[in-house]
């Protein structure tokens, strides 16, 4: 089965406060895509963390969007194109920046254009609800996502990311 051209990959854990922002947004995107005609253009994936094998999910895509919660990151959200970067000290999880060079090393070709939508969170404790502040950030990110999905092209997303 051919891959959908656009991959949207949300990262987070719904049981840990604002870490739920990514999965919550992905669920809303899924709901809205189901109602539209372009759902076969997108594949939506959710996981707790990005891991090395996720480069295989990125293969054969035209666009990749990572959605994640951030700590101490710009509010309400930040949309940017991550630059490939070797990460010296990381956790089990990889940030998108580190996934890009792994893609190139494993698959021997440049990764597809990838973007990050990082929604600022405030609290990440086990069992907490999404904080009121993060809920506001989520609403702003959701509105922004409408613009992303309205024109899912490299040119459009580069412009939204402030790329020349």
């Amino acid at each position: 089965m051919p891959h959908a051209p656009c991959l949207i990959f949300a990262v987070g854990n719904e049981s840990r406060g604002d870490d739920a922002l990514g999965p919550l947004l992905l669920r809303e995107i899924a709901r809205r895509l189901e109602a539209g005609a372009a759902s076969d253009r997108y594949e939506l994936i959710e996981d707790f963390q990005l891991q090395v094998e996720n480069v295989l999910d990125m293969a054969e895509r035209q666009l990749v969007l990572f959605i994640d919660a951030g700590h101490g990151t710009p509010a309400p959200f930040n949309f940017y194109r991550p630059q490939p970067q070797a990460i010296g000290h990381s956790t089990h999880a990889l940030p998108p920046e580190a996934l890009l060079p792994v893609f190139e090393q494993v698959l021997h070709r440049p990764p597809p254009p990838a973007y990050v939508l990082c929604i600022r969170g405030e609290r990440f404790e086990l069992g907490e609800e999404v904080s009121p502040q993060a809920r506001r950030h989520y609403e702003a990110a959701l509105a922004f996502t409408e613009r992303l999905l309205a024109n899912a092209t490299v040119e459009s997303w580069d412009a939204l990311a402030g790329m020349p």
Binding site: V11, D19, Q49, V52, D68, H92, G127
Partner: protein
């Protein structure tokens, strides 16, 4: 056996070195090294703050929700919690003996989990240290550096992990939040197409896993002085073992050996774990310190995980892995090995066993069966014990008349290894950290010791921007004399 973590006579005169948080392990960890006036290490404390609240989080939930909910406790080994909770809930629904299909599907799922976790841990987290050296350029000491210098090794690491994830997806139903195991059995078996898809690649995975064992063995042979002594931590060893003492990662009875390899106890029913193991609370840590009751808290602490399991069992029931186990046992002339880096060797032996086990189960038609659930007389209490990738994992629940969980006790692998990790860090710190300057290379030696155990520090929180590393040296008067920070 003695330990000296709390024995400084005048702690008020000690200098404190804090490493907060520990990088390349999950979540929030903090290492406090207390130095004396001569800059010698007297105390080490590994603080892990994220374990608080797990049991409370689960209390009050309906029992049938628990096997799914507990997967959120850990982003690396959710399947281990899923299976341990399901095992614990089996007697609560009266399933005292699972159907062959249910047990074999669960075992298949568990092998997939062991495989993906061990592959991630070794190739992603530890191979950079082992292949480039602990003091090597930090910009290269990562998975990307491994991919550049050893592209085939890095590629195999990615694909081994992917294969393990596929086994989980097919047995659990989904990549995450799987529902495959349920109280009393499983809710799906494999289709012929799924089995055949896995069979296509399993022999390649076995070959690569054998290569991985040989790679670690070569590293030990190349530098025995380092590998035989780094993070040395002589301790008791605990695990479950299966029939006739064979390695069994899914089910069995508790066995413990002392540091010399002599049996402390054997054949203990997991339902009686609390009669042999006690948990101590210390004021400076959220994480408990378990110990073997019969030996007391001074001498009863132990290590769990691959290094304990491979030396605790009498055999491994798959051919290649058992051959490698015997090689490993011969390496030290039959005496137990307690050096922390040997965790990696045994971890790769277990990965090989897991892939061989997957292959055997894929050739067993029971995994295609339709008898998925067992029933029987219900109980109000259940205990599930499993050998998770990092070590023995205990789940213990009681439910009330409304089927809600009223009591939950979890002893996760990292808790079982708590004292042993402190000891290993202390050993490394005593050897490598002297003087006032904390270099990145020195810090990494401590992190290498922690990574050998692979603790799940916080489990599944990972938010972008959340993991800077800060190191500070504070003098006896509480003044900071040196600080070292690094971000992601």
């Amino acid at each position: 056996m003695t330990y000296h973590l709390e024995t400084a006579e005048h702690p008020e005169t000690l200098r404190r070195v804090a490493i907060d948080p520990v990088s390349r392990v999950e979540g929030h960890g903090k290492v406090t090294l207390l130095l004396d006036e001569d800059n010698k290490i007297h105390q080490v404390r590994l603080h892990i703050v994220e374990f608080r609240g797990f049991e409370r989080f689960i209390q009050g939930r309906p029992y049938w929700e628990v096997p799914v909910m507990v997967q959120r406790l850990c982003g690396i080994c959710p399947v281990s919690h899923h299976l341990a909770a399901s095992k614990a809930m089996d007697p609560i629904v009266g399933a005292h003996h699972l159907t062959p299909t249910a047990e074999k599907i669960r075992r298949l799922m568990h092998f997939g989990q062991i495989m993906q976790s061990h592959a991630l841990h070794f190739f992603h987290l530890c191979s950079p240290d082992l292949l480039f050296g602990f003091d090597s350029d930090v910009a290269k000491r990562n998975i990307v550096g491994v991919a550049e210098a050893h592209p085939e090794t890095a590629k195999q690491g990615v694909l081994l992990r992917k294969f393990g994830q596929e086994v989980i997806r097919m047995t659990a139903g989904k990549r995450i939040h799987g529902t495959g195991a349920i109280p009393g059995g499983v809710n799906k078996s494999l289709t012929v197409a799924e089995r055949d898809e896995l069979l296509k690649d399993v022999y390649t995975m076995i070959a690569w896993s054998r290569d991985a064992v040989h790679l670690v063995k070569k590293l030990h042979d190349a530098n025995p002085a380092l590998y035989n002594s780094f993070g040395l931590c002589r301790s008791n060893m605990l695990s479950i073992v299966g029939h006739e003492g064979a390695m069994d990662l899914y089910d069995g009875k508790l066995r413990a050996r002392d540091a010399d390899g002599k049996l402390i106890f054997d054949g203990v029913d997991c339902n009686n774990y609390y009669q042999t193991i006690e948990e101590e609370v210390r004021p400076w840590s959220y994480m408990k310190f378990p110990f073997i009751k019969a030996l007391g808290k001074e001498d009863g602490w132990y290590k769990v995980g691959p290094l304990a399991r491979v030396q605790n069992c009498d055999s491994i029931p798959t051919a290649f892995a058992d051959h490698e186990r015997r090689d490993f046992m011969d390496y030290a002339g039959g005496s137990p090995i307690h050096a922390s880096l040997a965790f990696h060797w045994t971890r790769m032996i277990e990965m090989l066993h897991a892939v061989e086990g997957i292959k055997e189960l894929l050739h067993d038609d029971d995994i295609l069966g339709t008898e998925l659930m067992a029933t029987g007389e219900r109980k109000r209490e259940g205990i599930g014990v499993i050998e998770a990738p990092r070590g023995t994992l205990f789940h213990h629940y009681r439910v009330d008349d409304d089927d809600l969980v009223t009591m939950c006790n979890l002893i996760v692998s990292t808790t079982n290894n708590n004292q042993a990790m402190n000891e290993a860090i202390r050993h490394v710190a005593k050897r490598y950290l002297h003087g006032h300057e904390i270099t990145e290379g020195l810090l990494n030696h401590i992190e290498v010791a922690i990574r050998a155990f692979d603790p799940c520090l916080s489990c599944a929180t990972h938010a972008l921007g959340k993991m800077p590393l800060k190191v500070e040296l504070v003098d006896a008067a509480g003044q900071q004399v040196h600080e070292l920070s690094r971000g992601l």
